[in-house]
C-alpha cells in the first residue's frame, strides 16, 4: 500500500475515533438528562431521584473530561452546603459540609448565577475547604446553581477539566441544563418530605 495513503488512513481513523468518542459522550450525557426530565413526569422514589442525579453527574464529568464532580445541597437549618454526591478523583467527599456563604460554591448559591474559574485558586472567592474535594487540588472549576421553584436548592460543581484545560461557555450551558432539571427534582423531593419528622 502506498505510504501516503496508509498515513492518511491512519490519520482519518484516529480523527474519527476521537470525534466518535466526543459525540458519543455528548449523547450519553443528554440521555442522562432525559432521565432527569422523565423523573419530573411522575413522582419518583427518592432512590430513583438519587440514581438519576448520580448518573447525570457522572455523565457531566465524562463529557467535560473533568476530574471531579459534586452535587451540593443547601441545608437551610444549618445554612451549610452538604455534598450529597461526589464522583471522580479525590477522596470520597459525600456528606461533607461547608458554610453556605463561603467559596465559589457559596457565591453561586447566594447569587443564583454560574461561575467559570479557570484559575480557581487565584479567584478571591475561592476557598480551599469549600471548593475542592479532599485529596484533589482544584485548578479549574465550573459551578452552577440548581434553581428550585422559588429558591436555589444547591450547587453543581465540576472541577479540573482535562480537554483544553479550561471550561468554556458551552460547558456552562450543559451543566446549567443539568442544574435546572436537578433543582426542580430536588424541590419536588423537598416538598414531598416537607412534613416528615426530622431526626
Amino acid at each position: 500500500m502506498n505510504t501516503d495513503i496508509a498515513d492518511e488512513i491512519a490519520r482519518l481513523r484516529s480523527q474519527n475515533s476521537q470525534l466518535r468518542a466526543e459525540v458519543d459522550a455528548m449523547k450519553a450525557f443528554l440521555d442522562t438528562l432525559q432521565g432527569l426530565v422523565e423523573a419530573l413526569d411522575h413522582t419518583p422514589q427518592d432512590e430513583e431521584v438519587m440514581a438519576a442525579l448520580a448518573s447525570s453527574l457522572q455523565g457531566a464529568v465524562s463529557v467535560l473530561g473533568a476530574a471531579h464532580g459534586a452535587l451540593l445541597v443547601l441545608d437551610e437549618d444549618s445554612d451549610e452546603l452538604v455534598t450529597v454526591l461526589g464522583v471522580g478523583a479525590g477522596q470520597e467527599a459525600a456528606w461533607s459540609r461547608s458554610q453556605a456563604s463561603v467559596g465559589l460554591a457559596g457565591w453561586v448559591l447566594q447569587h443564583g448565577e454560574a461561575v467559570i474559574a479557570n484559575d480557581a485558586p487565584a479567584d478571591e472567592r475561592f476557598d480551599a475547604g469549600a471548593d475542592q474535594a479532599p485529596g484533589l487540588d482544584t485548578t479549574s472549576l465550573l459551578a452552577v446553581p440548581m434553581p428550585g421553584k422559588d429558591k436555589v436548592m444547591g450547587v453543581l460543581r465540576i472541577a479540573n477539566t482535562g480537554a483544553q484545560g479550561i471550561f468554556n461557555d458551552n460547558d456552562q450551558v450543559l451543566i446549567s441544563l443539568m442544574g435546572r432539571f436537578a433543582g426542580e427534582l430536588l424541590a419536588r423531593m423537598a416538598l414531598r418530605h416537607a412534613h416528615d419528622p426530622v431526626g
Binding site: 502506498n2 470525534l19 443528554l30 438528562l33 450551558v173 435546572r180 432539571f181
Partner: protein, 227 residues
C-alpha cells in the same frame, strides 16, 4: 451455487480492503460525525437560548416563538444529517397541526401555515401517540400522507419524527425528511432526536402557553407564501 457465493463475498471483502475504498469510507464517516457534532453544538446553542430568553417579553410573541422553534429545528436537522425538515405546532382550538417552521429546498417554504387534520400523516401519528418514529420507506407505510409531496412535486423517501413535549403538554412535532446521501435514519438518530425534543420541550413549556401557540399558528396561516 456455494462457490459463486464465496467468490462474491471474497470480492466484496477485497473491495473493502482496497485503500481508496477505505479512504472514501473513512471520509464519509468523518463527514457524518462532523455533521452530528455540529448538530449537537447547535443544540447547545439552542439550549442556551431557551435557558436565557430575552429579559423583556415583547408585546408580539409570535416572532420570538417562531425563532425558538427555528433553533430547535436547525439543531435537529444537523444532528440527524437530514436534508429537510419542519416543525408543526398544535392549534388547540381546532386540534390541527400547523407547519410553523420549514427548512429545505424552495418548494417547502410554501408549507408554512399549511394545516393537517388531527392524526393525519406520520407527524399526526407522532403527535397522537407522543412517540418518536422512523419510517425509512414511506410508500410502504399507511400512516404516510402523500398530499404534501403531490402538491410540492417533492419525493419524500424517509421520515424521522418526534413530539416536542414539556410539562405534559404537546408543543409541537419535529419532522425530518430524507437523510443526506440517501442513507437511512437509524435508531440512534431516533433516540437522539427524542432526547433533544424532550429537553427542549421541558424548557419551552415554561415559556410558551397553549394560547400563545395557537395564536402563533393562526397568524402564520394568514401570512402570504414567500414564493
Amino acid at each position: 451455487m456455494p462457490g459463486r457465493a464465496n467468490a462474491i463475498i471474497l470480492a466484496v471483502m477485497r473491495r473493502d480492503e482496497d485503500p481508496q475504498s477505505v479512504l472514501a469510507s473513512l471520509e464519509t464517516e468523518r463527514q457524518e460525525l462532523l455533521g452530528e457534532a455540529d448538530g449537537l453544538q447547535r443544540f447547545i446553542g439552542c439550549m442556551r437560548m431557551l435557558m436565557n430568553p430575552g429579559a423583556a417579553r415583547s408585546e408580539r410573541r409570535e416572532p420570538e416563538i417562531v425563532g425558538l422553534f427555528e433553533q430547535v429545528l436547525d439543531s435537529a436537522i444537523g444532528a440527524a444529517n437530514a436534508r429537510d425538515g419542519s416543525i408543526l405546532v398544535p392549534d388547540h382550538r381546532t386540534q390541527e397541526l400547523v407547519f410553523l417552521v420549514v427548512r429545505g429546498d424552495e418548494p417547502h417554504s410554501k408549507l408554512v401555515g399549511r394545516r393537517l387534520p388531527p392524526g393525519e400523516g406520520i407527524v399526526g401519528w407522532a403527535a397522537q401517540t407522543r412517540r418518536a418514529v422512523i419510517v425509512n420507506n414511506v410508500t410502504g407505510d399507511e400512516r404516510f400522507y402523500p398530499g404534501v409531496d403531490r402538491d410540492l412535486q417533492y419525493r419524500t423517501e424517509s421520515v424521522l419524527a418526534a413530539p416536542i413535549i414539556g410539562g405534559d403538554r404537546l408543543l409541537g412535532v419535529v419532522e425530518l425528511i430524507n437523510k443526506r446521501d440517501r442513507r437511512l435514519f437509524s435508531v440512534g438518530n431516533q433516540t437522539l432526536l427524542g432526547v433533544m425534543c424532550r429537553l427542549a420541550g421541558e424548557l419551552l413549556s415554561s415559556m410558551v402557553s397553549d394560547v400563545e401557540l395557537s395564536e402563533t399558528a393562526a397568524l402564520v396561516r394568514t401570512q402570504p407564501n414567500p414564493t
